[in-house]
């Protein structure tokens, strides 16, 4: 069974999957200085518990955005928790080469895998109720999140248009422009070459633009 099990480690990608793509303009780090990231990684080695709180604070919104904008907003908070649980377990198990590990795309990849598994699980058993996570907070938290995610009509329109893109275009546009990953990071998370990402991006954005232009003008 491929479901969302808690045994984590098996589905957590290692840094071996990360590619260094110097031909991509811009670095594959996440816009923070290299030495800041190195210092954080060193703290992860020295004091995992203390430094992991920093990782959650730094990347929580990024992970939530992947979970809620690639996947279903109703399960985004749950998948965010699950992402960090798996990351924590992988880090505490050791064996990851922290020097080569890029935290941001690594976390985004874990989230993407969870989103895909969740989608697969639902398609297999469409009649299933929402997963029983043993916690009723999810039920009360989800409406609040859904209130937050649909803030304006313009955003709602944009979300609807995003839904009309092909899956790879959708994912590329969301990872690059909603989540804010670099092109190289987007390529890493999607598991395809950066050139392919660029082509998904330009087609996806063009489709969004023409749909917005042909649709009714909305001034706010």
């Amino acid at each position: 069974m491929v479901g969302l099990t808690l045994d984590g480690a098996g589905q957590v990608p290692g840094p071996a999957g990360s590619r260094v793509t110097p031909e991509c303009n811009g670095s594959s780090t996440d816009g923070v200085q290299w030495d800041v990231m190195r210092a954080l990684k060193r703290r992860l080695e020295a004091d995992l518990d203390g430094a992991f709180v920093e990782v959650v604070d730094r990347y929580g919104s990024m992970v939530l955005s992947v979970a809620g904008r690639i996947g279903d907003p109703a399960t985004a908070e749950e998948l965010t928790q699950e992402t960090f649980l798996r990351a924590y377990r992988a880090l505490s198990a050791g064996g990851l080469d922290l020097d080569r590990l890029e935290l941001r795309p690594w976390l985004a990849t874990i989230t993407m895998n969870l989103v895909r598994n969740e989608g697969r699980r639902r398609r297999r058993k469409p009649a299933d109720p929402l997963p029983a996570w043993g916690d009723d907070r999810l039920a009360s938290a989800s409406p609040a999140l859904e209130d937050r995610v649909v803030a304006s009509e313009t955003e709602q329109a944009l979300l609807a248009l995003l839904g009309t893109l092909t899956r790879p275009q959708h994912d590329a546009v969301v990872l690059r422009h909603v989540v804010g990953l670099s092109t190289a990071e987007t390529a890493e998370v999607m598991g395809c070459p950066p050139g392919t990402v660029r082509s998904h991006l330009s087609r996806g954005l063009a489709a969004l633009r023409s749909a917005l232009e042909s649709g009714p003008e909305e001034e706010t």
Binding site: V56, G60, L64, T80, F84, R137
Partner: protein
């Protein structure tokens, strides 16, 4: 180009992690401790605890004060209200027998841990001097340092630093004030003979 409404609109679709979710995440990972509020002899206490035991006991002051001290000591771990008190806490606070309650002293120095460990050996209803503790931990002459270590005891009452008094019979100091020290000792049956204006 930078004013492109489409990319600007997409950017605004990003989601922000709220405090509740942050705590949920830390909780799920095991990096969120709990607190319980209780009362001992009229003093309202906040008690923080995690898997390893009780980590902080302080008087309940202004809102946010306890959380602030907690994060000073333990970093930005999560802290949220507990559904139940930590095992053994309430009987320990009632009886003064805190010996079986687990405490988490990881953030205490080695010296302070030694001092607190020695203080834990003092049975209810008895007192010892700062010098006794100093000798007990193999640091005779460090009585003043013992006093300072007890003065910042992270888990008072459970580690009964109120049973440590000065050699001359003076009560010394106490983190919750001298009145509370007297009250705790009195309810354990210690006869106070401190010449503090009592009959």
């Amino acid at each position: 180009m930078s004013e492109d409404p489409v990319t600007a609109g997409l950017e605004s679709l990003g989601l922000a992690m709220a405090d509740d979710l942050r705590l949920d995440v830390l909780d799920r990972v095991g990096l969120c401790d709990r607190y319980w509020v209780t009362e001992v002899s009229g003093l309202r206490l906040a008690v923080a605890f995690g898997d390893r035991g009780i980590s902080l006991i302080r008087g309940l002051g202004k809102p946010g004060e306890f959380e602030a001290e907690y994060s000073r000591r333990f970093g930005r771990r999560g802290l949220r209200a507990a559904h139940d008190p930590p095992p053994g806490l309430l009987p320990a606070l009632r009886s003064g027998e805190g010996g079986r309650v687990s405490v988490d002293l990881r953030r205490s120095s080695g010296f302070q841990s030694d001092v607190l460990g020695a203080a834990r050996e003092i049975p209810a209803g008895e007192t010892r001097s700062y010098a006794w503790i100093a000798t007990r931990i193999g640091r005779p002459g460090a009585a003043r340092a013992v006093g300072r270590a007890l003065g910042t005891n992270p888990v008072p009452i459970v580690v009964p630093c109120h049973r440590v008094v000065r050699g001359d019979g003076d009560l010394g100091g106490y983190i919750f004030g001298l009145e509370m020290k007297e009250e705790l000792l009195r309810r354990e049956g210690v006869t106070l003979d401190t010449g503090r204006g009592r009959p």
